[in-house]
Subunit: 474 residues, 2 copies
C-alpha cells in the first residue's frame, strides 16, 4: 500500500465510520453469535503472499493506521467475550497465525497440547509484569500444595516463601524485569554476562546464580532470558539455560523462564532465525512487540504462555457485574483474565490488517531489509579500522561501535563525544550503551523508512566526527 | 462537530497524515525545544465555550477520534521527555486544565503546594494498581524509616511488615481494587456497606474495619473510596472517612486513600457536584475515566496524586539507555515513572481536542443531559408503583430498579426474568447487580446518543415485561 492508496482507503474508511455513527441506533446492541463462530470463517494461517502483492511497499505502516481508525470507531472496552465476540475471537486466531509465522513451539498455540495461547498487551513492561505475577502464584501454589487449603499453616508458609522470592534477569535484560520485581515487591538479582560469550546469558551463569541464591536460603522463581538484548541484541543461550534448569522442571521448584524478544522477535519471521525457537518448548512464556519492527502502530505487545491456566489462576476475579452465561460455562475466552487492566482495545485488528496486507513474504522482505542495512553499515565501519571498532556485529539490524583510541578511557571519551556531537546536530538521533564499563554507540537499521542512502550519510558523518577525534583528515 | 464536519475534518487529517509520512525524512529527528516550552503557549485553563460553540452536538465523540488519528501518525512510545517534549508537556497542561474543570483541590495540580500532578493511564485498573503500589512503598518506607539503610535489620523488618499489609475497599468498590491487591500479593479486606446509608461506605465502617485489622496484628495501608460505585453509583462519605483517619494522617501509619470515580467523575464538571471534591484534599489520589462519559475514545483514565514523589519513588528505575541530560538534571517530567509500562501513547491529544472542541460549557451540557434522562426514567418508573420499585434513585445517570413482588424471592425472580428477556431480544442490553442479596436491573443513561425517545421505548418494554410478570395488562 503506497501513500496514494492509503489516502484513498483512509477516506473510504472515514465515510464508513461516519455512516456507522449516523446509524448506530439501528444496530443490534449485543451480539447473537455463538462461541467459536469466527475461526471457521478465517484461514488457518496468515497468508504467505500479500493481498495484493503488487501493492506492497515494505517501508510504510499504513495498514495498522487504518485498523486503528476502525478500532477507535468501535470504541469498546472489550473486557469479556460477550462485550464483543469478534474482538476476542479475532485475537485468538491472529495470535495463532502469528505464533505459526514465528515458528513458536506448538505448546504456545491456543489449540496446543498444553492449552497455551496468546494475548495482546500494550507493552513489554506489562507483559513481563503479568507473567512474573503468574510465575509467583504458580510457584507459591506449588510449594504450599501439601498444606490444607485455607489453613493458618498454609497462610504462614506462603508468607515465608513470599519473603524469599527472587526474580532474575541477565545484566543485558531490559529494565522492565527489574521494574516488575519492584512493583511485585520481590527481590531482583542480576545474572552476570560476559563479553567472551558475546554478552549472552549462559547456562553456567544461571546455574551459579541459582545455586548461590539457594545457598543463601532464597527462592529463585523467575528468569527473564532475552532474544536480542536491549544494549547489543545478544541472544541468550536458551539450550544451555534449559539444560541447567531441567532437574527442577515440572517440580514445585520449577523456575519460570520468560523469553523477552521485544525488538528482535520480529526477525523470527525469517526462516534462518527460526531454529532459535526450538528450546522455547522448555520455557513458560514469550513476548515480542510488533510495534517495534513489524509495521504495526504503537501499542501492540504479543505475549504467549505455554499454559493459559497460569495466567487465569493469578489474575481472575469474578464480580457479579462481569458474569454471563458464556463465561460461567467456560465456553469462551475472557482476555481480562490474561492481563492487568479490565478494559482492552481492539488491537488484533491491527495485526490482522498487517498480516493480510503484507503477507508473510512481504513482512519477511521488510525485516530482511533492516538486517541487510545493518550488515552494510558494519561492512563500511570495518573498512575504516583506523577510526572504528565493531563492539558487537550487526545482529537483527543493530550494530554497536566505538571510536578508535589508545586505551579504554580514550575510546570511551572519544565515542561519547562523537555520539553527543551527532545528536546535537539533530539530523540523526543515536542511542548509546555502557556495557561492562565500555561506552558504545548503537545504530539500529531495523526501522521503517531507513534506506541505504541514510546508512551512507550516517557513515559519512561518523567518519567526519571520528576522524576529527582521531586527529586525521576524514 | 456534526457528522458532516467530522467527515471533512477527518479527510483533511488524512491528507496531512499522508504528507507527514511522505516527507518524514525532512523533519528534525529530535526536538530542540527547552523544558517547559509549551505551557506559556497555551491558555491557563480549558475554554469555557467551545471553538466554535455553534458546532457542538453534545452526543458525538468525533474530536477524540480525530486526535487518535494524529496520535497514531506520530506513533511514538513517548516514554520520556526527550522522546517527544510536546507529548509530555501537553499532558501536564491538559491534566491541570481537567483538574480545574473538576474543581479538584489545588494539591492535585502540577504547580500545587504539595507537588502533585496528573497522568493519563489506560484504565482505572492500571491507575489503582499503580497508586496501591506507591501506597505500599510509601508505607513500608515510613514504618522502617528509623532503621539503618541497607541493613539486614531493615530488610527483615520490611518483610515482616509486607506480610501484614492489607488493602481495603468497600463492598461497593470496583473489583479492580481486589485484583490490584492480588497482583501485588497483599491481603484484601472488604469494608461492609449498608442499604440504610444508601450503600455508601461510612467513616464508622472504615474505623471498625481498621480497628479490627490492627487488633489482629495486621497493617491496613490503603483504602479505595468510591465516587459513584459500580453497582449503584453510591458516593462514599468522604468527610466521615477523612475524619476517622485523621489521627494517623501524616504519621508512619498514614492510610493512603484513593478515590475511584471512574464513571461518575465526569459529573464533577457540573458545579452542583463540585462540593464533593473538598474532602479530597485529605486523601492521596483520585482517578476518573474520560473514556466513560466525557466524550473521549477508549482508552483514557485520568489519575492525580497529591505528591508525585510517591509515584516516582515506587516506579523509577534508571538504566543507561534511558538517561539524558534533561532527565538527569530533573528539569523535566518523565511520565514512565508515573506508571507501569515504559511506553505510552499520545493520549493527552484526545483530551485537548475534546476540551477545546466542546469547551467546559459544552461538556456540562452533555453531562447534564445524561443526568436529566436518568431522572426522567426514574419519574416514569415511579408512575407505576404497581410494577416497579426504585432500588436506588437516579444518580449520575444511573437508575437501578426491581419488579414488584410479594417477597424478596419473588422480586428477585421476576426482576431477573424481565432482565433476561430484554437482553435476549437484543434491542437493549441492560446490566444487573446483586447487592446484599437483592437483584436489581441497572439502566445507565449517561451514554452518548441515548435520547428521551430511547428512555421512553425502554420504559414501554419494561412495563410490558413487568406487567406480564405481575399478571396485569400493561
Amino acid at each position: 500500500m503506497d501513500s496514494q492508496e492509503f489516502r484513498e482507503a483512509a477516506k473510504a474508511a472515514i465515510d464508513e465510520i461516519t455512516e456507522y455513527y449516523d446509524n448506530v441506533a439501528s444496530h443490534r446492541v449485543v451480539s447473537d453469535v455463538k462461541p467459536g463462530y469466527l475461526r471457521p470463517l478465517l484461514p488457518a494461517s496468515a497468508p504467505l503472499d500479500p493481498e495484493p502483492w503488487s501493492a506492497i511497499h515494505a517501508d510504510v505502516h499504513y495498514p495498522a493506521a487504518l485498523a486503528e481508525m476502525y478500532s477507535n470507531t468501535f470504541n469498546g472496552a472489550h473486557f469479556n467475550w460477550i462485550c464483543s465476540p469478534a474482538v476476542t475471537e479475532l485475537e485468538t486466531v491472529v495470535m495463532d497465525w502469528l505464533a505459526q509465522a514465528l515458528a513458536l513451539p506448538e505448546c504456545y498455540l491456543s489449540g496446543g497440547s498444553t492449552h497455551g495461547g496468546g494475548v495482546i498487551h500494550g507493552s513489554a513492561s506489562e507483559a513481563i509484569l503479568t507473567v512474573m505475577c503468574a510465575a509467583r502464584d504458580k510457584y507459591l501454589n506449588a510449594v504450599t500444595a501439601g498444606l490444607p487449603a485455607d489453613s493458618e499453616e498454609k497462610e504462614e508458609a506462603t508468607w515465608k516463601h513470599r519473603s524469599k522470592l527472587v526474580a532474575m534477569g541477565s545484566a543485558g535484560a531490559h529494565s522492565s524485569t527489574k521494574k516488575a520485581a519492584q512493583i511485585l515487591g520481590v527481590r531482583f538479582v542480576t545474572v552476570p554476562i560476559d563479553e567472551d560469550a558475546s554478552f549472552a546469558m549462559t547456562g553456567a551463569a544461571v546455574a551459579k546464580t541459582v545455586a548461590d541464591l539457594r545457598a543463601r536460603g532464597l527462592e529463585p522463581f523467575y528468569l527473564t532470558a532475552s532474544l536480542g538484548t536491549t544494549d547489543v541484541a545478544a541472544v541468550d543461550d536458551f539450550a544451555g539455560i534449559a539444560e541447567v534448569l531441567s532437574p527442577t522442571a515440572g517440580t514445585a521448584q520449577d523456575i519460570w523462564v520468560h523469553v523477552d524478544a521485544a525488538y528482535a522477535g520480529s526477525a523470527l519471521i525469517l526462516e534462518e532465525n527460526q531454529p532459535l525457537t526450538t528450546p522455547l518448548a522448555h520455557f513458560h512464556s514469550f513476548n515480542f512487540n510488533p510495534h517495534k519492527w513489524l509495521l504495526t502502530t504503537f501499542d501492540c505487545s504479543a505475549v504467549w504462555v505455554r499454559s493459559r491456566a497460569w495466567l487465569i489462576s493469578a489474575l481472575s476475579i469474578k464480580p457479579h457485574y462481569l458474569r454471563n452465561e458464556f463465561s460461567d460455562n467456560e465456553l469462551v475466552t475472557d482476555y481480562r483474565d490474561w492481563q492487568i487492566p479490565l478494559g482492552r482495545r481492539f488491537r488484533s485488528l491491527k495485526l490482522w490488517f498487517v498480516l493480510r496486507s503484507y503477507g508473510i513474504r512481504g513482512l519477511q522482505a521488510h525485516i530482511r531489509r533492516g538486517v541487510v542495512l545493518g550488515e552494510s553499515l558494519e561492512a563500511k565501519l570495518k573498512s575504516r579500522p583506523d577510526l572504528f571498532s565493531i563492539f558487537t556485529p550487526a545482529r537483527f539490524g543493530l550494530v554497536t561501535l566505538r571510536v578508535a583510541g589508545a586505551d579504554e578511557d580514550e575510546v570511551n571519551a572519544r565515542t561519547e563525544r562523537v555520539y553527543e556531537g551527532i545528536n546535537a546536530d539533530g539530523e540523526f538521533y543515536l542511542t548509546s550503551t555502557m556495557v561492562n564499563g565500555k561506552f558504545a554507540i548503537r545504530v539500529c537499521t531495523g526501522v521503517e523508512r531507513v534506506a541505504e542512502e541514510h546508512v551512507q550519510r550516517l557513515f559519512d558523518i561518523l567518519v567526519e566526527r571520528a576522524g576529527a577525534e582521531v586527529g586525521k583528515k576524514a
